[in-house]
């Protein structure tokens, strides 16, 4: 028997085919004779879709020719409850001994649900599942990049948590000894040591190439390549090894002449050249474009391809035709002139400059589909990689063009940002103006870590005072208190990205007393699972704020309320207004972006159900990247897409839903920059219906 199973992580941007690859690799590994567990850690699970089986939190055995295959979809909330339940008495004891908090306070805090729960318990639960059976291999289908990186940082968070608890307890130990009684470690010390050990074990596991390997999946597209370079770099910084890059859906050259196919092949070659330039020397495996296989039988061939030997020179693996001469990085100009781009614009007698007036008229059909009276927040969401960002930027431009007086903020809350790439300009955590004078659009890519640090530093004294007064016996030995304090303040909460996205939204939409900085926020979100977490977050965050307010009130004899209390109060009010806005069908709307393929369509169905439960209004579903070519392959692809579109329409009539279906054509290379995005959004079909 080996020391433990080997972990194989499939990571990458959303929608690149991680799940299909992970499922296929698991099938192939099992059929080589191994006992394999495949687990999804993305809160928007689609592993069951890929394997063609209904999965739950407990591993389910699937039928394979040889070996054994088990599959599970991780459930974070129950996992956290389970983890906490086992440690609760110890945490309670430590908090009770080390702080002013009484049982009531401690219970209240321990019972709160946590933002970022998926990342917090993901690895812990993964290991629990892995140890629950005698597996040789554990294949992990991860959440999209940004959240996977957070997941992988959790061992450090666990160790820091252990550090805080230990510092709290150190004072208890010190007091005990100073009273002349020898201190004997008890269950609380054991629990602290266990948490630290758990963090250390996971930390080592992730960095041991013998026990843990990463494969980065991507598409031959500029956005995907840019994110891969960042993501692989971040993993390398953490000491985790990416054993190979898997480029999925590589287009083979068309049989005859097909303008879109030829443009696509050229664009992909340029992207692959960029990839090799950015990550030289990494093994690259290319998988040709194919409809995503479903079920164990369908996945078999792909699995063998994924596990097959790579020759030493990565370039040799490029399909003969796709990879031959790679032209320079400059992409070919957009090959197809959209049919409606040249449409005559009705001229109105108006004082506006002609260009702005034309833009306004052209933006109107799309913008009026999405807008409503009193619209303040338009959320773009969907499965990863379906083109959320590009669609969100195009829509934000249309909305800003339609009503030039409207101040629009395009905000990205996906920790793996790509607004700047789509706009082809530098976008960062500072708000930057995107358009010229005639329409008013700004953009910002939220940096949650920075936002957290700014807030923490701003309230450092207040937080110091607060925690100082919560910690018992400050006069006994200030050293212990200070250590606990600083650990606590530095312990960034999980779910940071969602939390600060929410606070930033509140600040952008509701100013304290005067006029709000923006009339409308177009929000580009992280893929489905985390977007739903974001929409559910106001309630969770409000519970936390209320718990802290209650504690502050309770101990106001010991500590002045001050700025922190005032800020928490303001935050509570902002959260309530945001909650009210999210429930207002005219004020906040959700545009679902998807692709005409089976897995995205199934996820879209689930997303629409979840949005219905959250009472979010959905004005439109954008189906992105529709094939428009003329060759045999394009026609076949278009036929498959037509079936998926019919399924979506069927869903709409079954549910008696009213959303408009907007059809966005594929564009190779993808539109980048304000002008290209404007042109592209005018080619969407269904906007005028």
């Amino acid at each position: 028997m080996k020391a433990g199973p080997r972990f194989l992580f499939f990571a990458g941007k959303g929608g690149v085919g991680k799940t299909t690859c992970a499922a296929a690799a698991a099938v192939a590994l099992a059929e080589r004779g191994a006992r394999v567990l495949v687990v999804s850690t993305d809160p928007a699970h689609s592993l069951g879709d890929a394997l063609g089986a209904k999965l739950g939190a407990a591993p389910r055995r699937l039928t394979v020719r040889r070996g054994a295959l088990y599959a599970a979809e991780l459930a974070a909330d129950p996992a956290l409850r389970r983890w906490l339940r086992a440690r609760r008495p110890a945490f309670r004891a430590v908090a009770e001994r080390g702080t002013y908090l009484d049982d009531e306070d401690i219970d209240r805090l321990l019972d709160l649900s946590l933002p970022g729960v998926d990342e917090l318990v993901g690895l812990v639960e993964l290991r629990r599942l892995a140890e629950g059976g005698t597996y040789d291999e554990v294949v992990v289908d991860t959440a999209p990049t940004g959240h996977t990186l957070r997941l992988l940082r959790m061992p450090e968070v666990l160790r820091r948590l252990a550090g805080v608890l230990d510092d709290m307890h150190a004072k208890h130990r010190y007091l005990f000894e100073s009273l002349g009684r020898g201190y004997r470690p008890d269950f609380a010390d054991e629990a602290i040591a266990a948490v630290d050990e758990e963090g250390r074990g996971l930390h080592e596991l992730l960095r041991d190439p013998g026990r843990c390997a990463f494969r980065w999946v991507l598409l031959p597209e500029p956005l995907s390549v840019a994110e891969t370079a960042d993501g692989v770099g971040a993993l390398a910084e953490m000491g985790a090894a990416v054993e190979e890059l898997v480029v999925n859906r590589v287009t083979l050259p068309p049989d005859g002449s097909c303008v879109p196919c030829a443009a696509r092949v050229r664009a992909e070659r340029a992207a692959l050249a960029d990839l090799r330039g950015a990550l030289p020397g990494r093994p690259v495996r290319l998988l040709p474009e194919a409809e995503a296989p479903v079920g164990v039988v369908g996945l078999r061939a792909l699995g063998r391809r994924l596990l097959g030997r790579l020759s030493a020179a990565p370039a040799a693996r490029v399909p003969a035709s796709a990879g031959r001469a790679v032209h320079g990085g400059s992409a070919a100009p957009a090959a197809r002139a959209p049919a409606s781009a040249g449409r005559a614009v009705r001229v109105r007698r108006n004082a506006q400059p002609r260009a702005a007036r034309a833009r306004r008229a052209e933006a109107a059909p799309l913008a009026s589909q999405l807008a409503s009276r009193g619209l303040r927040l338009l959320v773009f969401g969907g499965k990863g990689g379906v083109g959320k960002t590009t669609c969100a930027v195009a829509a934000a431009l249309a909305l800003a063009d339609m009503r030039p007086r409207r101040r629009v903020l395009l905000l990205s809350a996906d920790p793996a940002h790509s607004l700047g790439d789509a706009l082809d300009m530098a976008v960062g955590d500072q708000v930057v103006r995107v358009t010229d004078g005639s329409s008013r659009l700004w953009a910002r890519e939220l940096d949650a870590d920075r936002a957290f640090r700014v807030r923490r530093d701003h309230y450092r004294t207040a937080v110091d005072d607060l925690f100082g007064s919560l910690l018992r016996g400050a006069r006994v030995d200030a050293v212990y208190d200070r250590a606990v304090l600083h650990d606590l303040i530095d312990l960034a909460p999980p779910g940071l990205d969602e939390l600060f996205a929410l606070l930033t939204l509140g600040e952008a939409l509701f100013a304290g007393a005067g006029r709000a900085p923006f009339d409308l926020v177009v929000l580009d979100t992280a893929p489905t699972g985390h977007t739903l977490r974001l929409l559910e977050l106001p309630a969770t965050a409000l519970e936390w704020v209320h718990a802290l307010l209650a504690i502050l009130l309770k101990y106001r004899e010991a500590v002045a309320l001050g700025d922190l209390a005032a800020d928490l109060l303001q935050t509570a009010r902002g959260l309530k207004r945001l909650q009210a806005l999210l429930r207002d069908p005219g004020g906040a709307r959700f545009v679902v972006v998807t692709r005409a393929a089976t897995l995205p369509r199934r996820e879209t169905e689930r997303l629409l159900v979840a949005l219905g439960r959250l009472r979010m209004a959905v004005p439109a579903v954008v189906v992105d990247a529709l094939t428009a070519g003329t060759c045999r392959r394009c026609r076949r692809a278009a036929a498959a897409e037509a079936r998926e579109l019919a399924a979506l329409r069927g869903l709409r009539s079954r549910k008696r839903a009213r959303w408009a279906m907007l059809l966005a054509p594929a564009s190779f290379p993808p539109p980048r920059g304000v002008d290209a995005l404007r042109r592209w959004s005018r080619t969407w079909e269904g906007a005028s219906a």
Binding site: G512, H546, L549, L553, A560, L561, A566, D567, L569
Partner: protein, 153 residues
């Protein structure tokens, strides 16, 4: 003589210290009232007080805050009256300025004005208890402050 000097000096010092202490106490008073206001708003947020109770308590606290500030304004205006040559009853004069400095009713980061405005939409009756906090950014000059202004003229 030395003894008398010392006594005189000591006495003067004592008096000045008393003045400083009184001013400090009033500033502390103001801080305390602000804290009370903040605590009240926190309790309202947590649903620990009903709306009418909150409005009544808030009105009382705002009145107290006004009183504290008026006392301080009177002292600021009535003290070095000879030196205050520009104090002609204009609100921006030293006496008015002392009140005006805190005139936004800023309570440690929370605008009572903003709160009263929000309350006005929810409950116009409750907010009516705070005419100044809502409508007028600068509180009316108190009788003491007016007296101080006249003294300066």
């Amino acid at each position: 003589m030395l003894l008398v000097d010392r006594l005189l000096y000591g006495g003067l010092k004592w008096v000045l210290e008393q003045v400083v202490a009184a001013v400090d106490a009033e500033l502390d008073d103001e801080q305390a009232v602000k804290e009370e206001l903040l605590a009240l708003q926190m309790r309202a947020e947590l649903g620990q007080v009903v709306e009418e109770e909150r409005a009544a308590l808030e009105a009382a606290l705002v009145a107290r805050l006004r009183e504290v500030r008026a006392r301080r304004a009177a002292r600021a205006g009535g003290g070095p009256a000879d030196g205050a040559n520009g104090a002609d009853g204009h609100p921006e004069g030293p006496a008015g300025g002392a009140v005006g400095a805190g005139a936004g009713w800023r309570v440690a980061g929370v605008e009572v004005t903003a709160d009263a405005g929000a309350a006005a939409t929810a409950d116009a009756g409750a907010a009516a208890d705070l005419p100044e906090a809502r409508g007028r950014p600068r509180p009316r000059r108190t009788r003491a402050a007016r007296r101080a202004g006249r003294a300066a003229r």
